[in-house]
Every structure is written in structure tokens, then in C-alpha cells.
Symmetry: C2
Subunit: 434 residues, 2 copies
């Protein structure tokens, strides 16, 4: 069956437009049609302006030369500033707020020819209080958070790509629950100016996509480098299986996905070895939580002083914890995460990547709880690049991912190996047509 335009990947859209086979307007129309069919049930979008998107697509069609993202529709998480659409951050405080400039990432993809379809639903200030988005694979289940709308919109073929941000688990968790790919680059890789800060030592901008090749193209635009295809591996990789110190929180489907992946990748030629996290990981989770609460309490002080009554109780608790935290405890937590990161350098002398559980299991039922953040949080704390690959299906028929983690700044290698892995393992959700 031929894919509809809204089902194409970023790379496919760009190729078909550049070859003259289709136009930006047609692709955007197709995405908007999908959105109008499905949005009432999914609630992926905080703001959508079909007229503006079509006007911009029309302008793009008249432009030459074509940028790398020429004609590509994009969703933007609603904590990221856009000068021509509101940015409400999932909070009543910023109802109707219009930023005075685009965030850097938005300006960069626009300059490369992308069309912003709209703003995607975020939990309140990318924290844990959920929005109204539902999991497109099963509307009775959570899409995960905090980049709930971005993951759901990409999974539901409303857009080929969307920006997400991760401070704990906010890209990989919803991507895993919705059965797509989430990518959190090495801390600091993508520019975060114009994004509402949660925790400055952890906040990472990343992507939700349905194809690894798309990450490579979008990265070229965001970091300003020449685009080349993901490098093919010359030999099978050395893979460390890291069950993490919190293996006990994983459900059977996650355990199975890891063990099955290890055994099939070994058969495919990978050198597999078990990796135990360095001793410095003891207490790392608590350190990440401390950093998150302390830094949030600094970032949110304006809203806290002026509009406390408009913050959810959940969010107020986080800020209160931060305000009551001892500054020297926060500094200790920062030093611990730095130490863990450095200790891991030795691990990546032994193996090329790690494979670890992504989240505890399938998406939880209901939308009041966006899921457990602990597993991706470990790797966010140490600033390493990570990708979830939706390789398995759980007992409720919902997606289960493995998490692939690269060395510090070894994002290119991580992508190459992830591509090798997904070719070997396949994905029950990525190649499906919705």
C-alpha cells in the first residue's frame, strides 16, 4: 500500500518535494486533514492554525534554493517560543501569551524550509502534571509526558517530526509509550534559547520521529553541518547490556525486550557483555531529583511569586522542595552527576553503546499519570545521548522500547549503531501505516 503524504518521514517528504513529485502545500494539507479527523480524540495540539500553516507552505513552495527541511511539517512543544503562535506552557498563567521572537530551534528549522503546523501539548511547564493528550495506540492509556503532544502527533501520523525536551524522561518515555523514536542528544548539542527552562543542568532539546534518518537530517540543520547519511557500521558493534541499579522496577515486558534484544543481537554478530554502572551511581537518582527541584525553584520564582494560585499542587510541591533545599546539598548533587559522567568514560572504552531498559513497561492506563521517569532519568543526569527503539510489544498490545545510550558526544556513533540494531530487531510499530 502506498503511503499517504502524512505518513511520510522527514526524509521522504524532503525528497518528494525536491524531486517535484509533491508540494509543501499538499503535504501540509494531508497532515491537517489527519489532524482534523483525529484531534478530537487525541488532543495532541495546544494550538493549531491551519490557515497560517498553509500560507507558510505556499510561501515555501515559491522559495529557492531549497533547504534541508524544505516543505517538512513540524510540531513544536508548547514550552518553546514561537513569534507567530501562542506559547502557553501547559499553564493558565500564560494563557494567550505571544513571545516576541522564535526560539533558536524554531528559527533554524524555519530557515531550512520547515512549516510549523502548531504547538503540541506539554504537561504543565514540562513537569509532571499532565495535559489532556491520549495515546493514539490506545486512547485509554497515557501518551507519557512531558512531551505528550509531540510524541502522540508523530505516532498518529499528524506530523513526521516534533520537538520535545527532556529534563528527566520527557522525550524517551512518551516516544516509548507511543511506539515511535525519541532522541535526546548529548546535553548542549541543540540550542535551547527561547525554551522555558525547567532545570538548566539537565534540560535537553530533542526529537520525536518515525525514522532514524530523520534525526540525521534535522541535526544537520540544528547544529549547522553538511548533511550526510548515517554511517554504515564496518563491523558488528560491542554492546553493553546495562540492567541499571533499578532493574527491580521493570515489568516483565521490559525485561523480556532487553533479554530478547541481547540474544538476537548476539546472534547477529554483536559482542555482548554485561555492564554494571560505576559505584558513583549510588544515589544518582536522588541527586537528579535534587537538581531538578532546586533549579526549578530558581527558574519558576517569577511565577511562584506572582501566580502561585495558578500552579497545580503537584508543581507547587516540587518548587517547595527546591526552596527548602540546602544549597550545599544541591552543589553536592551536581558534583556527583559530573563524577558519574566521567566514570562512564571508562565504560565506553569497553563498549560502543549501552542497551538499557527504557521505561518500566507499557503505557499506564488512564491519562492522570504520565508514567515512571526513573529509567531515562539516570542517563539524562549524566548528560549522555540516548535513543529509544520501539522493538517489542507488551501484554496489552502496546509498544515497549529498548534504550540505546552512547558515549559523551558520541551521538553519530550512537545513531549508526541504533540503525544497525533496528535493522536486526525490526519494529512492530515503526513500519506500520496508520
Amino acid at each position: 500500500m502506498k503511503k499517504k503524504l502524512n505518513q511520510l518521514s522527514v526524509k521522504e517528504v524532503a525528497n518528494k518535494i525536491s524531486s517535484g513529485e509533491t508540494t509543501s502545500v499538499k503535504v501540509v494539507e494531508s497532515c491537517l486533514e489527519r489532524i482534523s479527523e483525529r484531534e478530537k480524540e487525541i488532543n495532541a495540539w495546544a494550538y493549531i492554525d491551519p490557515k497560517l500553516a498553509l500560507e507558510n507552505a505556499l510561501k515555501t513552495d515559491k522559495k529557492n534554493p531549497k533547504g534541508l527541511l524544505h516543505g517538512v511539517p513540524f510540531g513544536v512543544k508548547d514550552i518553546i517560543d514561537t513569534c507567530d503562535m501562542p506559547t502557553e506552557m501547559g499553564s493558565k498563567i500564560y494563557k494567550g501569551r505571544r513571545p516576541t521572537a522564535d526560539a533558536s530551534c524554531v528559527a533554524l528549522i524555519k530557515a531550512a524550509g520547515a512549516t510549523i503546523l502548531g504547538k503540541t501539548v506539554t504537561t504543565e511547564f514540562a513537569g509532571s502534571f499532565p495535559g489532556s493528550t491520549r495515546n493514539p495506540r490506545n486512547k485509554d492509556h497515557s501518551p507519557g509526558g512531558s512531551s505528550s503532544g509531540s510524541a502522540a502527533a508523530v505516532a498518529d501520523f499528524m506530523t513526521p517530526a516534533a520537538f520535545g525536551t527532556q529534563t528527566g524522561s520527557s522525550i524517551l518515555r512518551p516516544s516509548s509509550y507511543c511506539g515511535i523514536i525519541g532522541y535526546k542528544p548529548t546535553f548542549g548539542t541543540y540550542n535551547i534559547a527561547g525554551i522555558k527552562a525547567a532545570s538548566q543542568s539537565l534540560d535537553t532539546l530533542g526529537l520525536h520521529v518515525r525514522s532514524l534518518d530523520d534525526i540525521q537530517i534535522i541535526t544537520a540543520v540544528l547544529v549547522n553541518r553538511k548533511h550526510t547519511e548515517i554511517k554504515t557500521l564496518e563491523s558488528a558493534p560491542k554492546i553493553g547490556i546495562c540492567r541499571t541499579p533499578i532493574w527491580n522496577i521493570t515489568l516483565e515486558e521490559t525485561r523480556n525486550s532487553l533479554e530478547d534484544s541481547a540474544s538476537r543481537l548476539s546472534e547477529a554478530g554483536a559482542k555482548i557483555q554485561d555492564i554494571i554502572t560505576p559505584d558513583s551511581f549510588e544515589g544518582l537518582e536522588e541527586a537528579r531529583i535534587k537538581i531538578n527541584c532546586y533549579e526549578r525553584s530558581r527558574h519558576m520564582i517569577y511565577e511562584w511569586t506572582e501566580f502561585k494560585h495558578l500552579l497545580s499542587e503537584t508543581f507547587q510541591e516540587v518548587i517547595n522542595t527546591g526552596i527548602n533545599m540546602n544549597y550545599s546539598d544541591y552543589i553536592k548533587a551536581i558534583i556527583q552527576t559530573e563524577k558519574c559522567r566521567q566514570d562512564l568514560d571508562k565504560t565506553f572504552d569497553e563498549v560502543d553503546v549501552l542497551i538499557a531498559p527504557c521505561v518500566d513497561g507499557e503505557a499506564p492506563i488512564g491519562i492522570a499519570y504520565a508514567g515512571n521517569p526513573r529509567l531515562p532519568g539516570l542517563w539524562t543526569a549524566v548528560r549522555l545521548p540516548s535513543i529509544n527503539l520501539p522493538t517489542h510489544i507488551g501484554p496489552n498490545g502496546l509498544p515497549v522500547s529498548i534504550q540505546v545510550i552512547g558515549g559523551y558526544r558520541a551521538d553519530d556513533k550512537l545513531l549508526s549503531i541504533s540503525k544497525w540494531i533496528i535493522e536486526k530487531l525490526g519494529s512492530p510499530t515503526l513500519n506500520e501505516i496508520g
Copy 2:
């Protein structure tokens, strides 16, 4: 001679208000009076709203309990967002721009009782294209940049304290030229949310003040810790004299200030030793410039795409350099700065602080050139905390500073030792009454 209210330090203002000796309104009136007398000549302020400042001071006088900065007037560099005043960033692009929220640092000092007097002049987006501010010590000379207005306003007794930011030399250089104290904490210490980004790996929020004690009080507010006086040293410190690899750019007055300081501090009991920067410093300046240009080109992409014609040629050049830079060269530069920082840990096992030249010499004549950024830039690149102490006077009767540099996150120790140093060396400008 008794100090006028506008001549008081932060600590003195807070104490006199808390003891009932004066009020916030009286202090603000005194500062506003000074501003109205002098502003025509100095041009320290991008925006000033006397009515609003007085209204806020009146509200503060009615408040209880009193925060640590109760009644203290403050200047805010105009790249820092304020919800009730414009934030124009020294650029025509943002003429009249009104942010939708206060930057974290502004919200934090307001919550502690400070009154924002207005916005201080910045060079264009805190880059090198100067504003119209003049050096209050001699109006024919530059105040330095980019925090030109903040340093000039504090030096001219228009406000006891002001926020500055440093990406290269933007706090210490103007503080040195204007004869006050500039403080750049360890990278990441003060929260920078709501501040226009220049270069995310270098941008550091800091302070312009006339007394070291004020740094201690303001830090307690910004990082949320209990305020205690700066700790007195138990014994004389070990001080490294670091002429840096670019000693050749220093003018005679700067060389003299360093040699004279070394000899007098040795007499006062300090253990003095020469320190040569680690080998990894070779090429560090070029690395900092690369990081600055590359990251600026990412941060400024919205303005570049939409309003290029409103950027100065100087600024366009910086962005162009960044856009044409190879991404892998940028990453190499980042890695080099990280290596230099780590190598310096060994230096700080041997000595407590370094003393280095602050800037090349006295403030240059004219206001078209904000001065040489290279010397403070070295220490910004390695993220270490640094303070300038205006200990000497040059051949034109203008202030000359030494720069004191602390170990990574050893800001408290740096303050203690700086206090010891300024007590031993004295300052020709700090204790003067304007």
C-alpha cells in the same frame, strides 16, 4: 563626611532601613536625584521610570517581614527581562519590547525586597558594538563593555548594585575601567533564565558593586542560602601570580599593579609563587572565540533571518564567522576548554587563588571601543570564578585592577581571600565619596 543615601553600599542600605534609620523611598529618591543630576553626561540607563521605582519603594516600606535586600535599589542590564519595563538589548530590533515575565534573577531580588531603578545600557546584544555610556571617572574615556551602564551607574553612585553578564570580559572589564568591583561567579551559579543568550557555554550572570560584602548578601538571595558574613581567613593565603600567556598585551600600569600587589601581599604574609598556565592553554583564546561565534550564530538565528539589516556590521561579522564555522571545530574548542578547566584543578591544589592582570590597562579614550576582552576571557572560558579589585591608578588617573581567580566552585574562598587582599592593598576608588 557622612555618606549620602545614594553613596551607601547594599549592606549599609539594608541595615539602615532595617534599623528604621531610613526608608526605601528615601534611598530610591536619593539615587533618582543623583541620576537626574548626572545621567545627561553619563548615559548609564537605557530606561528609567522614577514613578514606578518610587511606587515600588513605597510598597516595600509597607512590607513585613523584610527580605535580605529590603529597600535596596538595583540596576538591571538591558538584556535581562523585566515584566514591567522594556528590554531592548541595545538593539533597534527590540525597540519597546515588553517581556511577559521577569528573568529569574530579577524575580529573586524583587522577592527579597529590592527595587529595580531601571535598565542599564548594554552594548548591542552584549556584543562589542558599544552603547552611548561614558566613564564616570573621565567622560572622555570608555566605561568598557558590555555591561557598560551597570558598571558606570554603580561607579557614579546612581545605584549600589547592578546585574552584569560576562561571556568574555563583560563584567570585569567595565568594572575595572570604572574603578568598582565586578564579580563573575563559577559558571552556572546564578540562574540565567530570562537573559538573552549570547553563548550558552560561556554566559555567566554576575554583579557590579562597591563592596565585597554586597556580593555575599546578593549571592545568598540568588542561590537561596542563609546569609552569613564573608569568612575571615585563619592564616595568610597561598597566592599564585599568573602573568598568563598574553602578558605581552599588558600596559605598564597593569604590569605595575600586579608586581606591586605581589610584593605587598608577600610582605603582608601571603605565600606567593609564580604560576604558569597548563600546556592545554595553548590556543585557548582561539577556542573561546570559536565557541562565542558559533553559539552566537545559533542563538541569533531569528534576528539574523528576520532583521539582519538592523544588526551592526560588527555583529553581522561575528554571526557570519559562526555560520561559516565547521561544527567539528566548535566541538574541539569545547573539549579544549573542558580540558583546561580540569588541568587547573592541580594548580588550585598548590595555591588558594590566582592573581592575574585584569585588563590590558586603563580605560581607552573615546567610547567607540569598549576595550580589549582577552585577559578576562581566558578565565571565562574555563568557567572559574573571578573578581576584579580596583587597587591602583594609571598614568591618566584612571583605575587599574588586579584580577583574582578562584578554583572551580570555590567562590566562598575567593571572596574571603579577596577581602583579605583589599584590606592589605586598599583601593583608591572604592572608599571615595562621589
